[in-house]
Amino acid sequence: MTRRLRNQLLDHLLHGAGLGATLLGLVVLGALLFDIFSDGLGRISWEFLTSFPSRRAENAGVYAALAGTVWVISLTALFAVPIGIGAAIYLEEYGKRGGWSRVIEINIANLAGVPSVIYGLLGLGLLVRTLALGRSVIAGAATLALLVLPVVILSSREALRAVSPSLREASYALGATKWQTIWYQVLPVALPGMLTGMILALSRAIGETAPLITIGALTYVPFAPDGLWSPFTVLPIQVFNWVSRPQEAFLENAAAGIIVLLALLLVMNGTAAWLRDRFQQ
């Protein structure tokens, strides 16, 4: 076989392998979605969205969990986004390069890979007990904020680093201060990239069950949270709860709950994509 032929063959093989890998992922996802929609779509109704959980599957709804998720994720974003962006700006723009910054950098990267249940234990020990926040919305949101903070910081730094140095130089050369340069030139350019990172982070947080169960989120909540200090549940916990029931009807509820969660995620991602496109113009 000539060298040229061999290279062409290799090219085709890699093309096929790549296509196969992509299709495998899509097929699995498709099968999953089909299964869930065929089970749960029939249960989706206004009643399902506005009802509290019940012992009778046909009366049960996701209202408490949906409200809990919206509360917790909004608060998580409120905590994690400013702190994460602030830390990223400091590390990328102000902090000196050196031994300490390396140590911090490696630690943040490692924290991003720590299992979420560990963050649950941290939340339980530090937030629920020591700071006496109780099993509240605020304790849950703070725990999830800790969980996603490393991801927010890493992706924000990436976005800041991607801003061309020539842009900063242009600003400095006009007599801009460091802060003016960051605020007027660097951040607007970095914002779309940062938004992508936020959405990835919050998408992870919205599906988390383990850390919230660890800090003592309830599994049966017949009320919506009425404030920061209210006990709560979230959609993944509600789904988990329903799945563990023996009755067939509750499995349909679980599938419907997953559809609601997916829809919420889609709305979040869509909003972020829309915002990103607006900023990019």
Partner: protein
């Protein structure tokens, strides 16, 4: 623009005998005809351990164009960036020696770097407009420096800056459009307009035409020629013809040292150093 510190610059002009050691061997005194604007004495510059400039002494005259030439990596861009302390941003950078502008030591204690950079504008090799509108590009420096009291004053200054950079007629009807939609040559003239807007005294240009086609290059050169009546211009160029065309004075750098400095006509027709002759005739570099 008149020079408010003419008195002090005249005295500093007479106090640069060290220049003679380096550059004026056998030629007439280089700065006898114009007062010194930027006076550099024994300037050395280090990137960490690596020395990029060695004991550079040079007096740059007011309202003239001074060209810095030399092969790649000879330190001419580094030198240019010491004049507005742009190198401060680089970690591990270190400066020795003295640079004064109108007698003010710019590396002295208490120098306001932000104010210095407003006085010493800069145009970069690769045009780098902000990803904003044409108007906002020019207005940015005015806004952050609080140089316009009202909207109409801002409008006026943006207009006069664009006119000074010979760009107004091409963009006056689309000031709100993105600067990134302009051609390469227009973008570079926008960067010049942006630098002029904050009314600098000195304009540093780092190979401003190296990425442009011949026609756009010619426009930049004409602009440089017009601007020197109001600004002191220091321009780095790789193009010998360009240096010969636009500059009054030429400084030749080699391996971080100033090899020769004098009138452009003398540098190109009767260089005193062998290195200069080799470089300007294209034997190396």
């Amino acid at each position: 623009m008149t020079n408010p510190n003419e008195g002090t610059t005249v005295t500093s002009k007479t106090a640069i005998p060290s220049l003679a050691d380096v550059a004026q061997q056998g030629t007439e005194r280089g700065s006898a005809d114009a007062p010194t604007k930027v006076d550099v004495t024994e300037l050395s510059f280090f990137y960490g351990q690596k020395q990029a400039l060695e004991q550079v002494t040079i007096a740059i005259p007011v309202n003239q164009v001074t060209a810095l030439i030399g092969p790649s990596g000879c330190g001419k861009s580094t030198f240019l960036r010491t004049l507005n302390r742009m190198n401060d941003i680089i970690p591990g950078a270190r400066v020795e020696g003295k640079v004064s502008i109108d007698g003010d030591d710019i590396y002295g204690f208490g120098t306001d770097v932000v104010e210095l950079r407003r006085r010493v504008g800069m145009v970069f090799q690769k045009s780098n407009p902000f990803p904003k509108s044409i108007y906002d590009n020019v207005a940015y420096g005015l806004r952050i420096n609080g140089m316009a009291e009202s909207h109409s004053e801002l409008d006026d200054r943006v207009e006069s800056s664009l006119k000074a950079a010979a760009l107004w007629e091409e963009v006056s009807d689309r000031l709100r459009e993105s600067a990134l939609a302009l051609s390469g040559g227009q973008q570079q003239r926008l960067c010049i307009a942006r630098a002029l807007a904050v009314q600098p005294e000195v304009l540093l240009m780092d190979e401003p035409a190296s990425a442009l086609d011949p026609i756009a290059t010619q426009r930049i050169e004409e602009l440089v020629y017009q601007l020197k009546s109001e600004y002191t211009i220091v321009i780095v160029t790789h193009n010998m013809q360009q240096a010969a065309r636009v500059s009054d004075r030429t400084a030749v750098f080699w391996l971080g040292k100033l090899v020769e400095y004098g009138r452009t006509s003398q540098i190109f027709t009767a260089p005193t150093e062998k290195l200069t002759e080799d470089y300007v005739t294209g034997r190396f570099g």
